[in-house]
Amino acid sequence: MLFLLGAALLHAGATDLYLRYVKAGLRPLLLAAGAVLIVTALATAWYERRRAGGGHGEGHAHPEPRVSWLLILPLLALILVAPPALGSYSATRTGTALQEPLAYPSLSAADPLPLSVVDYAGRAVYDHGRTLAGRTVRLTGFVALDHDGTPYLVRMALNCCAADAQPVKVGLTGHIPPVLQPDTWLAVTGGYTPRTVRDPVNGGPIPFLEVTDARPVPTPRDPYDESWNN
């Protein structure tokens, strides 16, 4: 059982699966914990065999407490289901977590300019788009629809694990594809527009983007934005 749990942790850490749940910085810890669990399982088995070989044959002194059977649940969830990263359901129920950036570093000259959703939203709301004027930007995020149908491009920002993930939202206006399926990942190209709304959940500001082109893209390797914790 410990062996399986350790192996599952190692598997999640060795592949990119772990990025759905925790931040990238936890990877070495995950791998170490998985290794320790496997060593524990092996050590238990070894001592058990030696004890049995010693001829005492009294079995094991204290069996596992019953509550440890619950450890099987996350194990099954991780092996069989491998739940996806948080998507539009959580995004529409949680208010935007946008905060004022500390500074506005100058942008590269690339055209269209790749920007993160958090970076764009910060510049659009708190710098009133001064650094964005006349630029074509490209944002990547997933689609979430408000209850009145307003489409947002969302990226979940993560500090430690998915339990503390919070969405940052950018409203879409202009040439939006006619049919938008929630949770599809889009690379959206467009320009700054001064329009903002208040998030109905917590009253946080949501800037808009004047879309000129939107293309579906595969889910990125790390579905969360981790720029906050470095």
Partner: protein, 335 residues
């Protein structure tokens, strides 16, 4: 062509002891896993609703995030239990319990990690003869005042560096008060440490790994209980009611304190969440930061497992109230 030679039945298979009649845990485990693999697709279908999906994601995330810290704490506690002689603590801590409490509280600063690590370590300390009051002060202060958490707080509140000092002071005060309170009012029969098999007669290696295995299985099970509760609340409770609470100062403090208990966020990350709750006052957010590492759903489950249910039921509400009081006082003076 194939000549199958029937192997004569060997004596190994015949049950010799009554134990063989019981379902052994590896057998049950194998059967359960097989069953789950067979039922894979109906389970997946049941979990594909958005509520269930986000529930499973948060649940797995809490467990995956906490396990490395739990393993670290368990290794440390096993090392204490096996390799550190009890006389060491008798020399290291002042003999008067009233003095040992603040010393142990400050010692919490050196355990860098999440709150999940401190529960097994505190359990091992009590078992090793440290006064419970001092061990409890350590349990409460370690996750809140270690350098990693304080750095994260400084990063999350770049415009309010006084938050770091306030968090340090308020957490330490609450932890020490709780320790002294236990010393005055606490009764040892509330503490029910699960009996550990006596380690005499075993080699040190065997005792070490035995302790690691037992603690991971035990605390891990309770961690799962706490993670399930936290995931349920995160997936089901609406966030919009937070807005109305933010306007009333007293209600705001209470709301964020309850939220800290319910969300069960790792103490290394809670500062970022607190920073994003911009509609609340700084004092209310300080309460969030002080309460969260000391008591939350997953910690309550783990404490109930490590120290006994009667202890956790008395300890948790007292900690909750004291942490809020300490946060409000500190916020009033410093912020």
């Amino acid at each position: 062509m194939a000549i199958v030679e029937e192997a004569p039945p060997t004596g190994e298979r015949t049950p010799q002891s009554p134990e063989a009649k019981r379902l052994t845990s590896p057998l049950v485990l194998t059967m359960l896993l097989l069953l789950m693999v067979l039922l894979q697709s109906p389970i997946r279908r049941a979990l594909s609703a958005p509520v269930m999906q986000s529930w499973t994601t948060v649940f797995v995330a809490v467990v995956v995030q906490a396990l490395p810290f739990l393993v670290l704490g368990v290794l440390l506690s096993a090392a204490i239990a096996v390799y550190v002689p009890p006389s060491f603590f008798a020399r290291a801590l002042p003999s008067r319990p009233a003095l040992a409490v603040p010393v142990a509280g400050m010692a919490g600063a050196v355990l860098p990690g999440c709150e999940c690590a401190s529960v097994p370590v505190a359990g091992a300390l009590v078992r090793r003869g440290v006064t419970p009051a001092a061990a409890l002060a350590f349990l409460l202060s370690a996750p809140a005042i270690n350098p990693i958490v304080l750095t994260a707080t400084a990063v999350a509140f770049p415009r309010n560096p006084e938050m770091v000092l306030a968090r340090f002071v308020a957490s330490l005060v609450a932890a020490c008060t709780m320790g002294w309170l236990w010393q005055r009012l606490g009764r040892t029969d509330w503490l029910r440490l699960p009996a550990h098999a006596p380690h005499e007669g075993e080699t040190r290696g065997a005792a070490f790994w035995d302790s690691v295995r037992h603690d991971v299985m035990h605390a891990g099970g309770f961690l799962v209980v706490g993670a399930m509760a936290a995931a349920t609340l995160k997936a089901v409770a609406p966030q919009s009611w937070l807005r109305t609470a933010a306007d009333n100062p007293a209600l705001a403090v209470l709301t964020l304190a309850v939220l800290a208990v319910v969300l069960s966020i790792c103490s290394e990350a809670d500062a970022f969440v607190a920073a994003s709750l911009t509609q609340f006052s700084l004092t209310a957010r300080l309460a969030f930061l002080v309460v969260g590492p000391m008591i939350d759903l997953k910690l309550f489950a783990m404490q109930a497992g490590t120290f006994g249910r009667g202890f956790a039921l008395r300890f948790a509400p007292a900690t909750f109230a004291l942490a809020i009081a300490s946060a409000v006082l500190t916020g009033w003076v410093l912020l």
